[in-house]
Symmetry: D2
Subunit: 337 residues, 4 copies
C-alpha cells in the first residue's frame, strides 16, 4: 500500500502513520520527496485496510498494490476450475450452451423449449421462476409452481437446470428443484444472497452487476467462496453505458481479463448483453473467440407470446442457426460443444 | 404507445398488431408513411405492456408515451408529500439534516456523535447496524447489538433513527429499534426488500442505485407504495460515471427533475455523492439551492478511528462549519432548518 | 416524427403545430388520447427538424422515427462498400490487418517495423506523424519529417500508409505522402476536419469518439460523404465507461450493429480498445468473429523505447503470435487474410 | 512515481529500471515486498514520463504521484485568477452571467436579445457564428456575417462578446470581432485549436468535453496557458452518462473540485448541462451555491423560432425569473452580481 501525503504534511504526520503500520507487524517505508512525501506499507493489504489510513487528514491518496481478492485469483490457483452442474462439467476444453426461456410460463411452453434445445445438443436448461422486474406491474414469475415445472422438465429431458434466486430465504426451497443458482445483475451486491448460496453445495452462476467493476465482480465471487461454496461461474451480461443503440454494452474485454486474473469459468449472456435479437449470433461467435467457457441464451418457441423479454428470445429456427454459426468458431478455439 | 414497424412490414403485419390492440379494448391508430408505417395504441400503457409488442418480428421500435409509474407521480398528487420519521416531519418548508456515523461501532462512539449533532440542532440520527461491504473481509456491522445502541441513543438524545436494512427477513426485527428504514444504493432493485419495507408503516429512505435511471428509482419507490407504505423519501447519492476524481458523480439535475415529476421528498447524500471530505460543504449548499428537502451526512468524532468510510466523515468542527455554511442558503431558499 | 404534448395542452395548441407541419407540405396526424394528445408528422424528418418543434412550450417530447443519416445507410445501399487504400481493397471477403508504430520516431524504427509486418503478410502500414496528446508536455510527433519517412517506408516495402490528420490545414500537405487519412477519436466531431478530408479523394479511417453514440459516428461519416468522399471506413476503438481495469471498453456490439445499419467497412482497434498488451490477441479474435472487416494494431520492435503508447504495442514475437491466433478464426468466418 | 512489478519480476528486472531512473538524475527507491516488488522514482514526473516505464514487460502498473498539470494549479498560484473579457473582470467576488442566443440568426434577433439581457443587468453577450452540429443537415451558423452582427451588438449595447471558435485558421479573423473565444465540448481536445487561441491575448472560455475527466480538462487549459495565454475560464457543461432523463448530467462536484485544485475561474452552463428549460433555474441556483464564478445561459426572445437548441433557451420572462431566482443565493454566497 502506497500512502501519498498532502504537500503540507510534516515529518511528525508521517511518523504517526509509520508507527501505526509497524504496530500491526508490517513493514513501513519512508520516502520523502521534493514536492510530496510518500509512505509505503508492505504486507497483507487486507490487514492494512483495517488501519483506515484514508481517514487521516494529512493523507491525500491511498494506492493499494495487491488486489483485494484472493480465493478467486489465479495467484492462488493457476489452473482452470471445472464447475459441475447436475453432472455436467462446465469449463476446461468444452464450450457450454445454457438455453431456455426468460420466464417459466407453463408446462407446454417449458417442455416445448426443452425438447427443442435438447434436439440441438444443449446440455443445460435455464428458466426463471422468480423474476426481478423493474416495474411492480410486470409479470413476477410463477414461483414454486415454476420450480416444479423446471424439475419436471429436467427429469423428462435430462437437462439440469439453472434458475435465478432473489431472496436468501429461498435458498433451501430451491435446492430440491434446481442444479445451479443464478444471481442476477441487480443482486450482484446483495451480500445476504451471496452468503445464502455460499452455504449450499450447488453451482452458482454469478452475473456481473450492470455497473459493477470487474474487481467488484471478483469480490462478489469471493463472498460466495468464502462462505464455503467454490462452484462459482462468472457471467458477463453487458454493462450500462451512454450508448442506447443496444440495451447494454457487452464487455468482452471483461471476459479476457477475468480469464487472465481468475481460475473460475466465465460465461457470456448475449441476450441481455445486446437486447437485440439480430445481434445475438455475432456476439455469441465473438464470445467463443474471446475465450469464454460458454453462453447463456434466451429461447422461446413463440417469442411473440413470451411474458418477458420476448424481443430478445430466439425461436427454434433462430436457435438452430445460432448453434450452426458458433460451431466453426468453437473448433477454431480448439474446443468442443 | 407508438409502434414503429420495419421498412419491409406489410399491411397484414400492421393489421395483426392493430387487432391485438383492439382486443384489449384500447384505441388503435394506423399511420402509413412514406418510408415507414407507424401504429399507435392509446390507453393505459400498463395494459399495453402485456401485449409484448416488442416480440413481433416486424416491430422495429416501441416508444411509450406515458411514464410507467403512477403512485409516485405529481400527476396523481400535485402537492408535496410530508413524510414523518418518529414524529419529525420531513418535506414541505423545512430543510432536514440527518447525521451520524457510517457504522455503529460502540456506545461511546454513537453517544458522542449523537450529543454533538443534537447540539447542532440536527433532528434525526443515522447509523448502520448491518453494513453491505464490497469485500467479505471488511467490517460488516454490529447487527442486533448495533440496533440496540441506536435505540438507546434515540431515547437518550430524542433523536429518531434511520438505519439500513439489507435482508427482507430483518424488517420486523428492526421495526422495534428504528424509525426509518434505509434502502442502500446496492439494494435499490432488491424487490423482495422493497416489498418487505412496503408492508411496514415506518418511513423508508430509498437511495438511488449507482447506475439507476431516475425512472428506475421512481419505479422502485412505486414498489414500496404499491405494497402499502406511502412514506417514501427519495435520495440522490451520486451515480457511477467515467470520472474518478470524485468517488461518485452527484447528480443534482436528478433532484430538480424528481421534484418536478414526483410529490415525494428528495434528499441528497453529499458524503457518498462526493466521497471527498472537502467537497461535502459546497455540495450541501448546492443541494439546498437546487431544492432538496434535506441532506444525510456522515459524522464521526474521530474519523481516523472509524471502521468504515472515515475519509468522508465530518468531525465536530467540520460539522459545525457545515451547519453554518448551509444556513444562509436555507434562508435564501425560503426554508428553515 | 411523433410529438407528445404536455397534459395541459389544448386543442388550439395542437392545431398551431399541425398547421406548421402542413405548411411544409408534410402530412400531419392528430391523435387525441385519454391522458395525452399525440401528434404525428410524416415525411422527410430532416425537413421536419427545421420546424424546431421542441421549442414549443406545450411540447413535452419529440420522438423521431427515421434515422437522421442517409448516405451511410444500408437503406440507401444494401451491399457492402469496398474502400481502396493505395490499391489495396478493404471490405468484402477479406480480413485486413493494418499495423505499425503509434508514432513515427526514426527511419530505423519505421523501416524495422515495416519489414517485420511485411514478412507477416500485413498489407497496410500505420504510423503517426502528428500526435494528439492529452498533455502539452508529451511527444507531439515528427510532423512533416514523419510524413516523409512514411512515404519512404511505403515505397521501400510496398505498404500503403494510414496516418492521422489533426488540422484541416494539413489535408493537402498530407495528400502527397499518405494513402488514407485517419481521424482520431478526439476529433470525431471536429467538423471542419471531417469536411477537409471529405474534399479529398483518398480513404478516411474514422475512429469513434470515446463517448460518441453509434448514431453520432454514422453522422460524422455522413459529413465526410456529404462533402464528396465516399471512401469511409468506420473504426470502433473502445468507449469510455466506469470500468478502469482496461483503458477503454471495446464495444463489439457496435461492430455488429454498424454492419447491420451501414454499408461501410468496420474496423476494430484492439490496441486502444483494451490498452493492455495481453488482451489484444483475444479481442482481435473476437473482432474477427463478430464480423469486423479488419483490425488496426500498434506494433514496435522495441516497445520499451517507444515514445508513445509502448505499453500496448506488440513486438515481433507478439505480432507473429497474433497473426497465427487470428488465422483459424478468419477461416471460420469464411474470409481470407 | 510508483512502479509496481509483476510477481515474477526478478531483482535484475528491478535494477534495469532503477538504473534508468538514476540516469535521468532522479532518485530511485527499491521496496522489495512479500508478494510484489515496488519501485519508486522521485522528482519531476514529467521527466519520468519520458522513460515510458509502462512499456517494460515486467512492469504491472504505474501510479503517478504528482498531478500532470502545473500552470493551472493552485500549487503554482494560490490566489484566484481574474480574467478580463473586454473590460469586464470575471472571477473574484463577482458572480457573472453570460447570456445570449445559441446561434446568431439575424440583426433583429441578436439586438432584441441583447437589449433584453442588458436590461436585466447582464454584462456579457454570447452567440454562435460558427456552429458545430452533429448532423451535416443542421444549421451551421452565419459565419463571418454572424461575427459582424456580434460586433454591432457589442458596440450598440456595450456588451463584450463570447463566441465559439471551431477552426484554428479562424483565430485571427475572429480576433477583431469578439472579446472571448469559446472552445466547445467537442473540441476540448482539439489541440491545434487550443494552441491557436493560446497564441492570442483574449480570454478563452474552455468547456469540458462531454466525457473528459477533470484532469483532462485541466491539461487542456494547460495547453492554452503553455502556448502563452493565461486568460482561461473553465466551464462545466454536463457530462455524458447512462441517464437519459436529462440531456447531460451536470457535474457540480466538478466545480468544487476545480475551484480547489486550480486558480482559474469556473463557470457552469446550465442550458447544455440539463437540456431542459424548467431545470435551468434550480441548477443555476445550485451553481451559485457550489461556488461557481458565473453561468453561461442561452436566451432567445422567441425560442419557438430559434434555429438551434430552442428547447433549452429562456425567453424574456424566463430570463427575468432566472435573475430574480439567483439573486438571494448570490448574496448568501457573499458575492455580487
Amino acid at each position: 500500500m502506497i500512502i501519498i501525503l498532502k504537500p503540507q504534511a510534516t515529518e511528525q504526520d508521517a511518523n504517526e502513520i509509520l508507527d501505526k503500520i509497524s504496530s500491526l507487524g508490517l513493514k513501513p517505508l519512508y520516502m520523502p520527496g521534493i514536492e510530496r512525501t510518500v509512505l509505503g506499507a508492505l504486507g497483507d493489504e487486507r490487514i492494512l485496510r483495517q488501519l483506515h489510513l484514508d481517514s487521516y487528514p494529512m493523507v491525500d491518496e491511498i494506492k493499494p498494490i495487491l488486489s483485494p481478492y484472493k480465493l478467486v485469483s489465479r495467484e492462488l490457483q493457476a489452473h482452470d476450475s471445472i464447475v459441475p452442474i447436475g453432472g455436467i462439467n462446465v469449463g476446461g476444453g468444452k464450450f457450454t450452451v445454457i438455453a431456455g426461456p426468460c420466464s417459466v410460463e407453463s408446462e407446454a411452453q417449458l417442455f416445448g423449449v426443452s425438447e427443442m434445445i435438447k434436439t440441438q445438443g444443449v446440455p443445460l436448461l435455464r428458466g426463471g421462476a422468480f423474476k426481478p422486474r423493474t416495474s411492480p406491474y410486470s409479470f413476477q414469475g410463477l414461483g414454486l409452481e415454476g420450480l416444479k415445472l423446471l424439475k419436471a422438465a429436467k427429469d423428462k429431458y435430462q437437462l439440469p437446470v439453472v434458475s435465478e434466486i432473489i431472496d436468501p430465504a429461498d435458498a433451501e426451497l430451491m435446492y430440491d428443484y434446481i442444479d445451479c443458482y443464478q444471481i442476477g445483475a441487480r443482486n450482484m451486491q446483495n451480500y445476504r444472497l451471496l452468503e445464502a448460496v455460499g452455504k449450499q453445495d450447488k453451482a452458482v452462476l454469478l452475473k456481473r452487476g450492470m455497473s459493477a467493476t470487474l474487481e467488484e465482480l471478483l469480490l462478489a465471487a469471493e463472498y460466495i467462496i468464502n462462505a464455503g461454496n467454490p462452484n462459482v461461474i462468472l457471467c458477463e451480461r453487458g454493462i450500462r453505458t451512454f450508448e442506447t443503440a443496444t440495451r447494454n454494452t457487452l464487455d468482452l474485454n471483461a471476459v479476457a481479463y477475468l480469464k487472465e486474473k481468475s481460475h473460475l469459468p466465465v460465461f457470456v449472456d448475449p441476450s441481455h448483453g445486446t437486447g437485440v435479437r439480430s445481434l445475438i449470433n455475432p456476439l455469441s461467435r465473438a464470445a467463443v473467440a474471446v475465450g469464454a467457457d460458454g453462453i447463456i441464451v434466451e429461447a422461446h418457441l413463440n417469442p411473440k407470446e413470451a411474458l418477458s423479454d420476448g424481443h430478445q428470445a430466439l425461436n427454434a429456427d433462430d436457435f438452430s442457426q445460432l448453434m450452426a454459426d458458433i460451431k466453426p468458431f468453437v473448433a477454431a478455439a480448439g474446443k468442443y460443444l
